[in-house]
Symmetry: C2
Subunit: 131 residues, 2 copies
C-alpha cells in the first residue's frame, strides 16, 4: 500500500501551451506502479484555464473545492465540489476558473497515456519552451 | 460529457459478507460507458467496516471526509482527508471507521472487474442472501 497526500507533495506548473495558472501533482502514477490508471490532482487559480484541446483518452474528474466551468464539445457547464465528470475520448474540452477561489479537482486518465504519449508530449513541450 | 453528483444519487448498501454500515454509489461506471476505469464513492458509518479481502485488481482511493483506518497486508494506517492510496492487486485489505464521523472516500477500480467478475460476484452475493 502506498499513501500520498498533496499537502506534502510538490505542485508542478502545467507547461502545455494554452495552460494558464494551472498546477498539478501526480498522486498515483508510474512511480507508484499504478497498474491501470493514474490519479492526478489539479489546482486552477482565479483567472486560470487548462488548454482547450482533445485527445484519444478520457478524463474522470472529481471536484474537491472551489468552482469553475468546463467546456466540452460545444457545451459549457458549471462545476462545484462533489461533481463527478466523465469527459469522453476525443471530446474537445477546457477547464476555466472565472471565480475568486482556487478550483481543485482530481483528474484520472488511463495509464498508457501518462507513461507513453503524454509523457513524451510534456517532454516535447519543455524542450520547445527552452528554444 | 456526463456530470453526476453523489448528493443527487442513491446510496446502495454494500451486501458483501463482512461489510458493515457501508454504502456506495457508482459515479462513473458501465452505465456512463466509462472506457477504462470506474469511479465509486463510499461512506462508512462510525463502527462500520468493509470486508477484509483480497482480489486481483487494485484500488485507487482518495479520502474526502472523516477519518478511518486501512489495513493492508499486515500494516494498519490512519487515513484522513486528502490522502491518496494505492492498494495493490492481491493485497489483503480492509477499511474501518472506529471514529465518530462518517468516513467518505472515492475508490476507483479497472472497468473489467465492475463489468465482469465483480458484477457477477455482487449478483451472487445478493442471491446467496435471499436463500
Amino acid at each position: 500500500m502506498i499513501k500520498k497526500n498533496p499537502a506534502q507533495g510538490n505542485w508542478e506548473e502545467v507547461l502545455e501551451p494554452g495552460a494558464k495558472k494551472v498546477k498539478k501533482q501526480v498522486l498515483i502514477g508510474e512511480e507508484e506502479s499504478a497498474p491501470n490508471f493514474i490519479m492526478r490532482i489539479f489546482e486552477i487559480e482565479p483567472g486560470g484555464a487548462t488548454p482547450r484541446h482533445s485527445h484519444s483518452w478520457e478524463h474522470e474528474v472529481y471536484v474537491l473545492s472551489g468552482k469553475g466551468k468546463v467546456y466540452a464539445q460545444g457545451n459549457e457547464i458549471e462545476i462545484a465540489p462533489g461533481d463527478a465528470l466523465l469527459i469522453e475520448p476525443n471530446q474537445e474540452h477546457q477547464f476555466t476558473n472565472p471565480y475568486s477561489q482556487l478550483l481543485c479537482f482530481l483528474c484520472l486518465i488511463p495509464r498508457q497515456f501518462e507513461s507513453g504519449k503524454l509523457k513524451n508530449y510534456n517532454k516535447y513541450i519543455k524542450e520547445e519552451k527552452k528554444k
